[in-house]
Subunit: 200 residues, 2 copies
DNA sequence: TACCTTTTGTGAAGGTTTTCACAAACTCGT
DNA sequence: ACGAGTTTGTGAAAACCTTCACAAAAGGTA
């Protein structure tokens, strides 16, 4: 919206863009303080800035990529991560044939160096892209070295201690969600919705 | 559990495995019918079979992969999709240098053939892995050809008509969720939980 | 068969989230 | 400076979801 030249935006327009209702937008924002001006709406630039603060996106996050296979490679080349403030600053793998190579200037290191690297680069978040069978072991080591957040792409349910945040992405599961939605003949609880705003 | 030799399982054990409560498991299942035997629990094999039916996973789903770039390639090689009943049976791209090549026996075709291919192979679900700027255009064509479900990996918000199911996966967004969770000083609504069962 | 144990299925209670609706606060044009 | 027109922030109501708790139904045992 900033790039489109808008200086101000209403809850109704925001809701339309993100697919929810105006009341929801206002309630959600109100949980963090008061952002808008009555009769006018929200000032785009300052709203953006305050949301960035709240979401913890005012800083750059250095990321460790664990697993230099197909998926790891695709993630590394994915330009969107960097654009959104997440930079993969180290790559760790187990395979001796990969260790020592570089991707675009970033050395692939042995997973055994995990502690040293994480401390030196002050890494708090890791992207785990290893086979499912190795995921739990890798995660245990990461947590042991002080990693606080993990985005897990391996189709494995991970156990982590309190205080560590795990977010799982399982593409097969996402396809299963679609499969269920398509199969739902008639009306079944849990149908996929595509909401549109409606406020006076 | 079937592989582990269990023939029967209680709601409590199921809950532990998936990270919820026994009551929740029972309520959820009860929405679709009655599955268990009082005093004994659920028969593993038949529960699995009925859940597969409900989720629409009793069939194999042929999938169209749109976009033969890095991400498309990683998806294609991702063994988990096939294991879970989703098989990529055609690959479509726009780049003439890629069209005509094959990945593991699957020809990369021109996006212009989309209608013909989808009809011939009876494809209902597509995996969209194209740049964000092209996503909406591609999706419009897919929907026009009768695609009913889309798993979108492009970081773009898609508009589709009613009756088409879209599921978006945005890795940067998932990292932002972690960023927020780590930043949350003290207790803030929406904290990440790691539930464990507790039932008498 | 009778009784004890286990575990489901499910109303009711409790809790959370979303929507409604409106006073208060602001802008803008005159 | 004033009045008409917007739009926020938010209590209250409605909707939704989860947990509780227990009768009912089964298996096992003697």
């Amino acid at each position: 919206m900033e790039e489109e030249g808008a200086t101000t935006v209403s809850s109704r327009v925001l809701a339309q863009r993100v697919g929810t209702t105006a009341a929801q937008v206002r309630k959600d924002l109100s949980l963090f303080g008061t952002f808008g001006t009555r009769g006018l709406g929200y000032e785009v630039r300052s709203l953006r800035e305050r949301l960035r603060e709240i979401l913890g996106l005012a800083q750059e996050w250095p990321i460790a990529l664990i697993g230099a296979g197909r998926i790891g490679s695709a993630l590394f080349e994915y330009p969107n991560l960097r654009r959104r403030g997440f930079e993969i600053v180290t790559i760790l793998d187990r395979d001796p044939r990969k260790i020592g190579r570089s991707w675009d200037g970033v050395r692939i290191r042995s997973i055994d160096e995990v502690g040293e690297v994480i401390e030196r680069l002050r890494i708090k978040v890791a992207l785990v892209a290893v086979p499912a069978s190795e995921a739990q072991g890798v995660v245990d080591r990461l947590v042991g070295c002080g990693i606080r957040g993990i985005l897990n792409l391996a189709p494995a349910r991970l156990r982590v201690p309190d205080g560590v945040t795990v977010n799982e992405v399982d593409l097969a599961l996402e396809l299963e969600v679609i499969s269920y939605a398509l199969g739902a003949r008639g009306t079944v609880p849990g149908e996929i919705r595509q909401d549109v705003t409606s406020d006076p």
